[in-house]
């Protein structure tokens, strides 16, 4: 596309884009609320570490519940009627990639929105 076309398109877009003229809320009120809602810098990280430690403790507790009192892990293996084919390598690569996950979620969002009208209540 020629540069002039780009410029014209940009001009048209900026003239017609939605939400024009919406005034932002006062910066001071937004930042004050953000300040009061968040712990001070540094303690946020502390909270994260605390949450991670709690998750580890819970995981250990859950594991100890799963192990029977005599110390043996109950046999939970399942016999499959047919052997399962492993996923193709490409699928694994795609799912390991953060961006692909993002695309997948985006796609799921779009399908969800197309399937259900906006006034549909759960």
């Amino acid at each position: 596309m020629a540069r002039d076309d780009d410029r014209l398109l940009k001009e048209l877009y900026n003239q017609g884009r939605p939400h024009q003229g919406e005034e932002p809320p006062e910066f001071s009120s937004v930042i004050d609320e953000a300040r009061s809602a968040s712990p001070q810098t540094g303690s946020g990280r502390y909270t994260m570490w605390l949450a991670a430690a709690a998750a580890v403790i819970l995981a250990v507790a859950a594991t100890s519940i799963l192990i029977s009192p005599d110390g043996d892990t109950p046999d939970r293996s399942v016999e499959l009627a047919e052997p399962v084919e492993p996923l193709p390598a490409a699928t694994t690569v795609a799912l390991n990639n953060g961006e692909q996950w993002e695309e997948l979620l985006e796609f799921a969002d779009q399908v969800w929105e197309q399937e259900y009208p906006s006034d549909f209540l759960l």
């Binding site: 596309m1 076309d5 780009d6 398109l9 940009k10 048209l12 877009y13 900026n14 003239q15 017609g16 884009r17 939605p18 939400h19 919406e22 932002p24 809320p25 910066f27 937004v30 930042i31 609320e33 953000a34 300040r35 809602a37 968040s38 712990p39 001070q40 810098t41 540094g42 303690s43 946020g44 990280r45 909270t47 994260m48 953060g98 961006e99 993002e102 985006e106 779009q110 969800w112 929105e113 259900y116 009208p117 906006s118 006034d119 549909f120 209540l121 759960l122």
Partner: protein, 174 residues
Amino acid sequence: MVELEDKLQRLHAANFQWALHCTGGRREDAEDALQQAYEALLDGSASFEGRSNFKSFLFGVIRNKARSLRRRKKWGRLVGLDRIDPPAVAPTGSDELERGERQAAVRQAIAHLSPRQRDVLELVFYHELTVEEAAVVMGVRLGTARTHYKRAKSALQKQLMDGELQWQETTIGS
């Protein structure tokens, strides 16, 4: 901390416009997303490490907060956050009427774009980010952002031209 708040204040109007875009124009949601983004920066759960420029980083945080809000809301009630609002009150006077019609046509054309295409045009055309910076905000690779940008421009141009043709046919036919 003061430096961070100064930066946020300088970009506050643009931040709010971007939050509005990300929440489909819902002011209340935009304010929530903005506040949550500022909160994340203040408490250190989102920290700028200089891998991109500050504006792209901040827009990325706002976008993520808007998306989380949107996902959370879907569980309670399904809402069309990507819906584009209809044009505002009809203007009076011939110049204003013409401008109003043009704006409505552009808005209609924008509504036909995919969410990703709308995002990239908003970032590049309105917020004047480069396609590279837009890729950072959108969390996609540069090549993907370039493709969205190119397709968005073609689709917008096509929509506008189709709209113009329909308008001419209606005018000549009446």
